[in-house]
C-alpha cells in the first residue's frame, strides 16, 4: 500500500496546490473549517487532519455561500451581460470525511439529476478531486453509520487513513485519484501496513421506516412540542453539509450590477414570505417541521436517500439542544392512530 509520511504532507499539499485550489481542514483562530491551502499561515493556522472533523462543513467548495452568477450593464434600453462566472479552476478537497462527502453526493443529486443540471455547480463539481480521510474513531455526536454512510470506505477519488507514526495510507480509487497520485508520486512509499479497526459508534438511531411513518405525521403534536425551544436561527442549516437552499439576489450600482445566489435558510420567517404578505410557514413549528420532513421524508422519497449524513454538527451547535436523533426516536415512538 502507498504511504504518505506525515512530514511530507505540507510538501504534498504544495504540489497539489500548484495547479489547483486545495481545500484543507484548518483551524484559523478559534474557528475550524475547510480553507484553501494557499491561505494557510503557519504562524496563526493549524492543519487539523488529526481532529475528527471541522465545525464548518466543506459544502462551499462546490456550493459557495455567495456565488456570483453574472454581471451586467445597462445599454440604453437593453441590458448587456458582461460576464458569466462559471468556475473552471481545478479544485481538490483534502481530508474530507465520509459524512461530508455524502453531503456532496446529496448536492450532486439536487444539482445534477432529475433532468436539470446546474451549470455553476457542475463546473465546480467536475473539476473537483476528493481526498477523503477514513474515520476509525467516531465522535460522540457522530451517527453517519445510522444514515447509511460508511465512514471508512467513502466514495472518494483517494482515501487516506491515519496510521499514526507510519503516516497516511494512500489509496487511489478513481482516474482522478490516479492523476493526483502521480502528482505526488515521489513522496509516496510502498509498504505493507494494516489499516485500523473501526471503533463502535456510541450514537445510533434506527432510520428505517422513518420516511414512511412521517407521511402520516404532517399534522401531529410532535412538531409543536419539539419545536418549542427552537429559536429559529439558521445555525443548523448553515452548518449542515447537505442543506442547499439558496436565494437569487442582485446588487446594483449606477447602471451596472451583478446577480448572485446566496445561502438561505428554511428556518427564517422571511424564507417563505410571499409578495402579498402571506406566509405558509409563518409559525416556528411549521418551519421546524419542514426542515425535518425535507431531511427525512421528502428527500428520501425523491432521491432514495435521507438529506442527513449523520455528521452531528446540528446536534453540537444548536443553542437550545435540539437533536435530530431525539426527533427520529420520537417519530418512531409516535402514535399516528394507524
Amino acid at each position: 500500500m502507498k504511504i504518505l509520511k506525515k512530514d511530507q504532507i505540507e510538501e504534498a499539499l504544495n504540489r497539489m496546490a500548484d495547479q489547483a485550489e486545495v481545500y484543507v481542514p484548518l483551524q484559523k483562530g478559534t474557528q475550524t473549517g475547510f480553507y484553501t491551502w494557499q491561505s494557510y499561515d503557519n504562524t496563526t493556522d493549524t492543519l487539523v487532519l488529526d481532529e475528527l472533523n471541522v465545525s464548518l462543513p466543506p459544502k462551499q467548495v462546490v456550493f459557495p455561500p455567495t456565488d456570483k452568477m453574472y454581471s451586467f450593464k445597462q445599454n440604453g434600453v437593453e441590458i448587456d451581460i458582461d460576464k458569466i462566472y462559471e468556475a473552471i479552476e481545478p479544485q481538490v478537497v483534502f481530508g474530507i470525511r465520509a459524512c461530508d462527502l455524502q453531503g456532496i453526493a446529496c448536492l450532486d443529486l439536487v444539482f445534477l439529476t432529475k433532468g436539470y443540471e446546474d451549470n455553476f455547480y457542475k463546473a465546480r463539481r467536475e473539476n473537483l478531486t476528493t481526498v477523503a480521510q477514513a474515520c476509525y474513531q467516531p465522535g460522540q455526536a457522530c451517527f453517519c453509520s445510522s444514515m447509511g454512510v460508511d465512514p471508512v470506505h467513502p466514495e472518494a477519488d483517494v482515501i487516506i487513513s491515519d496510521l499514526g507514526e507510519e503516516g497516511y495510507a494512500w489509496e487511489a480509487q478513481t482516474e482522478k485519484g490516479q492523476a493526483l497520485t502521480e502528482k505526488i508520486a515521489e513522496l509516496l512509499e510502498e509498504k505493507e501496513v494494516k489499516l485500523p479497526e473501526l471503533q463502535e459508534f456510541t450514537l445510533k438511531v434506527e432510520y428505517d421506516g422513518v420516511a414512511e411513518k412521517l407521511k402520516e405525521m404532517f399534522e401531529h403534536p410532535i412538531w409543536e412540542q419539539l419545536s418549542e425551544p427552537c429559536q429559529t436561527c439558521g445555525i443548523c442549516t448553515y452548518l449542515c453539509p447537505t442543506c442547499h437552499c439558496f436565494d437569487i439576489q442582485v446588487k446594483t450600482w449606477g447602471d451596472e450590477g451583478y446577480r448572485f445566489r446566496c445561502y438561505d435558510s428554511c428556518m427564517y420567517e422571511e424564507y417563505t414570505r410571499e409578495a402579498g404578505g402571506g406566509n405558509p410557514r409563518g409559525k416556528v413549528s411549521e418551519r421546524f417541521r419542514n426542515r425535518f420532513l425535507h431531511k427525512l421524508e421528502f428527500f428520501q422519497e425523491r432521491y432514495g436517500t435521507p438529506l442527513c449524513t449523520g455528521c452531528g454538527r446540528c446536534i453540537i451547535a444548536c443553542p437550545t439542544g435540539i437533536s435530530i436523533i431525539k426527533l427520529i426516536e420520537k417519530v418512531k415512538e409516535a402514535d399516528t392512530g394507524a
Partner: protein, 301 residues
C-alpha cells in the same frame, strides 16, 4: 442547586395546578450531563422533567417573545441577567407584566453547555472550559431585578475590572489596526442570525434584515454586507443590551459580539449615564436612546 430545583418544581406544580399560569418555562436535561435545554411545561405532569443545574445558562426571557400575541399566562425562571431581559420586554411593550409569574434565582454563575458539547465533539479545539461561562465572568447583576418569588442565596457581583478591558484595548488601536481587527472578525460571519434570534432586545416584529422592500442590507456573505449587518445590529443595541451574553455564546463562528455591545454600553454610560439597561422597571421609563429630549448631549456628532 438541587434545593432550588425542588423549589422550582414545587412552584411550577402549584402554579400549573391552580391555573395561575398555563405554561411554565424552565429547563430539562438534554442527552448529556453537561447539556440542559429550555423546557416548556404545560401541565403538572410535565413538572417532573424540570431541572435546575449549572448548565441552565439560556436566557428564557427571550422565549416570551413566542407568546407576545397570545393570552397565555406564563411562569418562568430567571437568573439575574435574564430578569433584565424581562425589564427589556416590559420597557419595549412586548408583554404585559400581569401575564407573568417570575421566579427569580440568585445566580452563582453558569457553565456553557454549548462549549461543553463542542469540547466533547472532536470538531473543535477549545481551550479548557472555565469554571463559569465567559458571559458570567464579569456579571454585574447576579440577583434578579424583577420577580414574584426569589430563590437562592444572594450572590455578589463579579469583579468589574475586566469589563471594558478589550474595549479599551481596541480603542487604543490606530484606525487602520481597528479596521483590520473588525475585518478579520466580521469576515468570519456566516449570517446565520443566531445572535439576533438569541437576543431578547431583538424583538422587532419585522427585523430590518428581513425587510425586502427596500432591502436595507444585502444578503451576501461579504465583508461589506457582514459589516453592515453587525453595525446596524449593534447600534440597535445601544442602551438596550442587557448583557446576558447569549449572542456571543451561541455564535457558531465565535464572533466577539459582546465586545461590540460593550463599546456601546460604555458610550451610552458615558454620554447618558450612569446607565445600566434593564435593571428597573418603571412604567413609561425608556432607555436613553429610545427617548428624545432637547437637551440631549450632541457634541459628539
Amino acid at each position: 442547586m438541587k434545593a432550588i430545583e425542588n423549589q422550582i418544581k414545587e412552584i411550577a406544580a402549584r402554579l400549573l395546578q391552580s391555573g395561575e399560569v398555563n405554561i411554565f418555562l424552565a429547563w430539562e436535561k438534554g442527552d448529556y450531563e453537561y447539556q440542559s435545554k429550555p423546557y416548556f411545561a404545560r401541565s403538572v405532569d410535565d413538572v417532573d422533567k424540570i431541572v435546575f443545574d449549572q448548565y441552565c445558562i439560556h436566557n428564557l426571557s427571550n422565549s416570551l417573545l413566542k407568546f407576545r400575541d397570545s393570552s397565555d399566562k406564563i411562569g418562568l425562571v430567571v437568573k439575574g441577567c435574564d430578569s433584565r431581559g424581562i425589564v427589556r420586554l416590559l420597557q419595549d411593550n412586548q408583554i404585559e407584566r400581569s401575564r407573568l409569574y417570575i421566579v427569580g434565582v440568585a445566580c452563582p454563575g453558569m457553565k456553557d453547555p454549548l462549549l461543553a458539547m463542542k469540547n466533547h465533539s472532536g470538531l473543535f479545539k477549545v481551550e479548557t472550559e472555565p469554571e463559569v461561562a465567559a458571559k458570567c465572568q464579569t456579571c454585574r447583576y447576579p440577583n434578579p431585578v424583577i420577580y414574584d418569588e426569589l430563590l437562592g442565596d444572594q450572590q455578589a457581583p463579579r469583579p468589574q475590572e475586566a469589563r471594558y478591558a478589550q474595549v479599551d484595548a481596541i480603542e487604543q488601536m490606530t484606525a487602520d489596526e481597528r479596521y483590520k481587527f473588525f475585518e478579520d472578525t466580521l469576515s468570519k460571519c456566516i449570517r446565520c442570525y443566531a445572535c439576533r434570534q438569541a437576543c431578547v432586545a431583538c424583538n422587532c416584529r419585522l427585523c430590518i434584515f428581513d425587510e425586502m422592500r427596500p432591502q436595507w442590507v444585502g444578503r451576501e456573505t461579504s465583508l461589506s454586507d457582514n459589516m453592515m449587518y453587525h453595525l446596524v445590529r449593534a447600534s440597535h443595541m445601544a442602551g438596550r443590551c442587557i448583557e446576558c451574553g447569549e449572542c456571543e455564546r451561541v455564535c457558531p463562528v465565535n464572533i466577539p459580539l459582546m465586545l461590540i455591545n460593550r463599546k456601546l454600553i460604555k458610550d451610552v454610560d458615558k454620554f447618558f449615564g450612569p446607565y445600566d439597561a434593564g435593571i428597573k422597571y418603571e412604567e413609561g421609563v425608556k432607555p436613553p436612546l429610545s427617548l428624545y429630549q432637547e437637551n440631549d448631549p450632541d457634541n459628539f456628532i
